[in-house]
Amino acid sequence: MTHDEMPLRISAPPARRKLIRFQETGLLGVIFALGLALTVFGGSLQIRQPGTGTVETVNKFLRADNLGMLANNASFFAIMAVGEAFVIITGGIDLSVGAIYCLSAVCGAMFLSYFGPGGAESGASPAWVVPAAILLCMGVGTLCGLLNGAGVVLFGIHPFVITLGTLAIYRGVAFVMTKAQAYTNFPSLFTDGLIRYQIVWNGHALYPVPLVIMICVTIFAGWYLKHTVTGRHVFAIGGNEQAALFSGLPVKRVKLKVYAFSGLTAGIAAIIMLGYYGSASSDAGTGYELGVIAAAVVGGASLVGGRGTAWGALLGALMIQMISNGIIILNIDQNYSQIIIGSVIILAVLWDRINTTLRERRMARSAQSARDSRQEISS
């Protein structure tokens, strides 16, 4: 038989892993190029060193506080974009992330300020208040996500509609709960002690915690997608839901999980926001859903489903954040920023699609040639 003569090329480097690496090196390349351009064209800035009082010239873009700010601003979006990527890979969409983010933040904020320094129960030990607040935010986020998932699974209504509805509902709940009032005055163990934990480097204050959380979430999500059964099912359902059903996959359970995960990431982002800004109100995160979806899509997630990565979502968020940062640094009129970001989203996706088409054509050709060569041998 033919297989005796043609050993299988199992040992060849797995094309899928190579493919992912390729996909993301492209995005990484764009980010580096963007960084380089901003460094070169951004110009320099005179700042007075806070410690010594000496004036020194620094690059506007490539300096610790700008980069730190960039990373922290990107972290909210990146974390939610990773969760959104899961939903998008299954072929769904979650429009309610901004509202879930807001609702979890508001719940956490009310809890923290109730037990905080100025609250009714100011005597409570922050040692349990802070972990409880964190769990509360994550719990609220997950619950909201589960409700989305339940709506999608039980009613069979398109996720766009379900999450468009819950977007309004969750934000409305946040409004009602807070009576449109902002909550502040959290235990300092939570803000300065945890999320705004500061390290001083060269006289600059840096806040590494949001960054670390962002990277941890991404690593976990990337591992989950690649190494777990559910992760594989996520891709299968997005790639062909009918085939997944015909193959006996637990389609509904997996869908519930991805929406819950998307909610969870919104809860985690809310924790960071609470600690970083030290306050929350019911208008937090308005319009974030579009930024989050854009980040996931720029990172290679296909709205048709079946494609996307966690790292891609992170890089997508980073890239969008860099562009808005660049607009400030290059002194471009702020009014143009939306036009620029919008165009970049379309271009990024277009570029990705062209790449995919070329890659598939190449693969089809190599499969064809493999077939031909085997046929020659067998005949």
């Binding site: 299988l8 777990t228 299968a236 996959l249 598939e360 693969m363």
Partner: protein, 482 residues
């Protein structure tokens, strides 16, 4: 010839519908041309065909069910003034078209609300509305009741008298003999014979349709005695799809299922696989009664379905071949939900060599594989899940000749290995060669289960098509008629 009716007959997949589509400009021929009124033509679009006076009435009703009857009839030439719909004119034209063929239905009704018979009339009206002088009818009666079929036949008679030429594609012998003047037999995409209807008979036509050179070979699994009963189905019914289906399937046995398109074979397979909520009846696996409510439950009982349409139901085309193979067996290849990748790779490599799947590597997307290799992937998926009862629905559809032989060999090996296989196929040689027994279905009912020794192509074909032929999906002809 104006006013004549020419029948086009052949087995499933003989190329009748494709020929009709080429005539109507829906498909482009790879080569060659045809002549209309002595002029060689080659249509590039349905619109061109319409201009040349060719209309088609499709087998599967292909209209916009959400639009009104009137809109559907006038769809290709909606009367308008600078893009603004001229509604009175639309309704008037549609009314006129329907009157012409004597159909009565409300032109403002949504098409989706009409029954199949009325929809069929609307299709014909629409085809005539474009000024068709040559009408291709692709199995127009396959979804009609007996009364509706009779009305359609009357209408065809009227059209013929008015000088319309009709190409009539059908399986129903009695209709052909009543309506048509001449008949062309096709087989495997090729023209076999053209006869005047007066000079031929049913038996001859059936022989021409199936009469390919084939030898009955003797697969090795037939030597072995069949094993214990694996799957038994009793009084299995689903309204409008199949009724009172019953059979038993043993390990080491291939039970072939023959029947025309629409005989309820695939529907029955889906029913067994837990994908039909309306089905009633009893299913026994290994002698004990089970209830199967979803593919997941079927899978847990060791039943695997290689479905008719591998691209939409069998494979996740964008995923790698390897991932497709292990798609439903990941639970066995993981610990605490974490996939053991080395073990998975080993399983994939094992099945790639066992089933001789040809791909550049298991990591290429399933999309790039040829039809035969894709089919093997679907099979591998169920074998990897250790399913011992396999339902194969058209296992060699859209597969080239070499791969077909390989798949046949695989089926043979699996049966010899003790798998219980239910094989639905529209290819008679395939069914007759590989099966221990052949179950023939017509109109949702089991006509007969034949033993290998008593099957001949003629016998099966007669059971499939039915001698009396006046088929009616709502009131199936009973077994007693045969």
């Amino acid at each position: 010839m104006p006013g004549s009716c020419h029948a086009l007959v052949g087995e499933n997949g003989a190329g009748k519908s494709t020929l009709g589509k080429i005539l109507a400009g829906l498909c482009r021929p790879d080569e060659g041309h045809f002549e209309i009124d002595g002029v060689p033509r080659r249509f590039r679009s349905p619109l061109e065909a319409q201009r040349a006076g060719v209309g088609i009435v499709h087998q599967e009703l292909s209209f916009c069910p959400n639009l009104t009857v009137a809109e559907n009839i006038c769809l290709s030439h909606l009367p308008n003034r600078v893009g603004r719909m001229n509604w009175p004119e639309v309704y008037r034209q549609a009314r006129a078209c329907l009157d012409e063929i004597g159909a009565d239905c409300d032109v403002q009704e949504e098409l989706g609300r009409l029954n199949t018979g009325q929809t069929q009339m609307v299709q014909i009206a629409a085809a005539l509305a474009t000024g068709a002088r040559l009408l291709v009818m692709d199995e127009p009666t396959s979804s009609l009741s007996a009364a509706e079929s009779r009305r359609l036949e009357e209408l065809i008679g009227q059209l013929l008298q008015r000088g319309t030429t009709i190409i009539y594609v059908s399986h129903r012998m009695d209709e052909i003999f009543r309506l048509c003047d001449s008949v062309t037999v096709m087989r495997d995409g090729q023209h076999v014979a053209t006869k005047s209807i007066a000079k031929t008979d049913e038996t001859e036509l059936i022989q021409l349709m199936i009469g390919r050179a084939w030898t009955k070979f003797f697969p090795k699994h037939l030597d072995r005695p069949i094993g214990a009963e694996q799957l038994r189905v009793e009084s299995f019914s689903s309204p409008g799809k199949f009724s009172e289906v019953g059979f038993a399937l043993h390990s080491g046995e291939v039970l072939g299922v023959a029947g025309l398109v629409g005989a309820g074979r695939s529907e029955m397979a889906l029913g067994i696989f837990g994908l039909d909520a309306n089905r009633t009846g009893r299913i026994f696996v290994k002698g004990s009664e089970v209830s199967i409510g979803s593919p997941r439950e079927a899978m847990a009982l060791g039943i695997g379905l290689v479905s008719e349409d591998r691209k939409s139901q069998g494979l996740v085309l964008g995923m790698s071949c390897g991932d497709n193979v292990t798609l439903c067996s990941l639970e066995h290849l993981s610990r605490c939900g974490i996939i053991r990748l080395p073990q998975e790779r080993a399983v994939v490599a094992d099945f790639f060599s066992k089933l001789r799947i040809k791909a550049a590597s298991p990591q290429v997307p399933a999309r790039v594989l040829s039809g035969g290799n894709q089919q093997k992937l679907v099979l591998a998926k169920w074998l990897a899940r250790q399913c011992r009862i396999l339902i194969l629905d058209e296992p060699t559809r859209g597969v080239d000749v070499g791969a077909k032989a390989e798949i046949h060999q695989l089926i043979e090996e699996l049966a010899a290995d003790g798998y219980a296989i239910l094989m639905i196929s529209s290819e008679l040689p395939e069914v007759l060669n590989l099966s221990n027994r052949v179950m023939v279905m017509r109109n949702g009912r089991v006509m007969q289960i034949l033993n290998r020794v008593e099957t001949t192509e003629e016998r099966v074909m007669q059971l499939m098509a039915g001698r009396t032929g006046a088929g009616n999906t709502n009131r199936p002809t009973s077994v007693a008629n045969n």
